[in-house]
Amino acid sequence: MNCDELRDHYELYALGIAEEPEAGEIRAHLARNCDTCVPGVRAARELTTLIGAAAPAAEPPARLRKRVLAIAGAQTGSRWNWSPVWAAVAAGALIAAVVFNVRAHRAAAQLERADAELQRVRSDSVAQTRELARLNEAFAILNQPNVKQVVFGGGAPQPPRGRVFLDPARGVLLLASNLPQAPAGKIYEMWVIPKGGKPVPAGLFQSAADGTAIHVLPGAVDVAGTAAIAVTVEIAAGAQVPNLPPVFAAAL
């Protein structure tokens, strides 16, 4: 089809309601960077963007900002600002003070505090690196175009609720909210339940103070052969078989 024939379908395409064969033809024109269709679809996308921006105003809760900033490892501004560089400066200042302090016992105490601060910084850094790796695994699963998504707990007045994403090559991603923290000495354990098989342990996790949880089971998973993903509360070391009824289960 030529561009003149497609012109009337640009806005339908931008809205996601163009039909075949026009939708496929527009995709093909865009793929070859067509001089007519690229600006045409762009103008249509501008219109649909404005429709979205015209949604009734709504104020998000303050906690949402913290959740979003946690993605970038900056849950609180102050914590990030006191990143290793600044903490090292603080520790250095403490050490310098010690050098000029005539009272040896105070110097020792300050050195001890400086050392503790450095240890804390190192520990934070390791934790941040681990968290970043976990989020990268989550991104990788979310970004698969054919990832299978299952919703659980939707519409229930009593949480928990959320979604499970399964990608055959990259694994399982669990996103949950309204999940109270597991009791002291206990932890959440995820299970992959094969069709006609016994639950297979799929890792331990704890929910955050705000009730949200992200858990990733990296690696290949047999999506077609999986009946459900479930979560139970287990002892802190985890279990090989579930000992309690599931807190929630997402049936595929």
């Binding site: 012109r7 009337d8 640009y10 806005e11 339908l12 996601g16 309601i17 039909e19 995709r27 865009l30 007519t36 600006p39 045409g40 679809v41 762009r42 103008a43 996308r45 501008e46 219109l47 649909t48 963007t49 404005l50 429709i51 979205g52 921006a53 015209a54 949604a55 009734p56 105003a57 709504a58 104020e59 998000p60 809760p61 949402l64 900002r65 959740r67 979003v68 900033l69 993605i71 970038a72 900056a74 501004g77 990030w80 989020l135 989550a138 991104f139 979310l142 970004n143 175009p145 054919n146 998504q149 299952v150 919703v151 939707g154 609720r161 959320g162 979604r163 996103l175 909210s177 949200t212």
Partner: protein, 194 residues
């Protein structure tokens, strides 16, 4: 109600610098991105899913996806806000489809999130005047015309699904869609480039 919010948001030149800082993984850039577009994204998603808790989850997913894909964004060519809103809309529609057991459009949704598709968009697209005009234009549509636009944009229904939902012939729905889009185009003075 939306106008003060939009007036408070800086669009245009500031986005290029913001994109560069996001690409450098500056956590403060994420805070700025949220402050600039978080409320718009939340309002859009809430309009789609109509549940505050689910909307929060989906806003977090939206920013997570933008953070992860921003390396592919051309800072000089703009379109950060429209791109983020497209991701927000797609996350929400994808959720609706999953929750309702409808087919996930695996091809179309990720495609419409590609950052390059938002390059060279008008820098002042999301300014308060444009949004006010589109709200007025939507209000001028007939009830059926407005319904089909909202069902398509905020619920992700195809024209056939809209016909079924509204218990109207498909041809009638297609006519409403076309006349609604033409009215919006005329009202907003936008035209498909020749």
């Amino acid at each position: 109600m939306l106008l003060p919010l939009l007036l408070a948001i800086e669009f245009g030149e500031g986005d290029a610098d913001l994109v560069r800082r996001l690409q450098r993984r500056d956590p403060r850039a994420m805070a700025e991105l949220y402050d600039r577009y978080g409320r718009l994204a939340y309002a859009l998603i809430l309009r789609v899913v109509r549940d505050g808790g689910i909307a929060e989850d989906l806003v977090q997913e939206t920013f997570l996806r933008v953070w992860n894909r921003v390396q592919g964004f051309d800072a000089e060519r703009g379109g950060l806000g429209p791109w983020l809103l497209a991701v927000a809309r797609n996350r929400a529609i994808d959720y609706l489809r999953s929750a309702a057991g409808r087919m996930r459009n695996a091809m179309e949704l990720p495609e419409t999130e590609h950052p390059a598709l938002f390059a060279d968009m008008e820098k002042e697209l999301l300014n308060s005047d444009r949004v006010r005009r589109v709200r007025v234009a939507l209000e001028k549509l007939s009830e059926n015309q407005r319904a089909v636009i909202e069902l398509a944009y905020f619920e992700g229904l195809s024209q056939a699904e809209m016909a079924e939902r509204m218990r109207q012939p498909l041809g009638t729905v297609k006519t409403w869609v076309r006349t609604a889009l033409k009215s919006l185009r005329d009202e907003l003075g936008t035209a498909v480039p020749a």
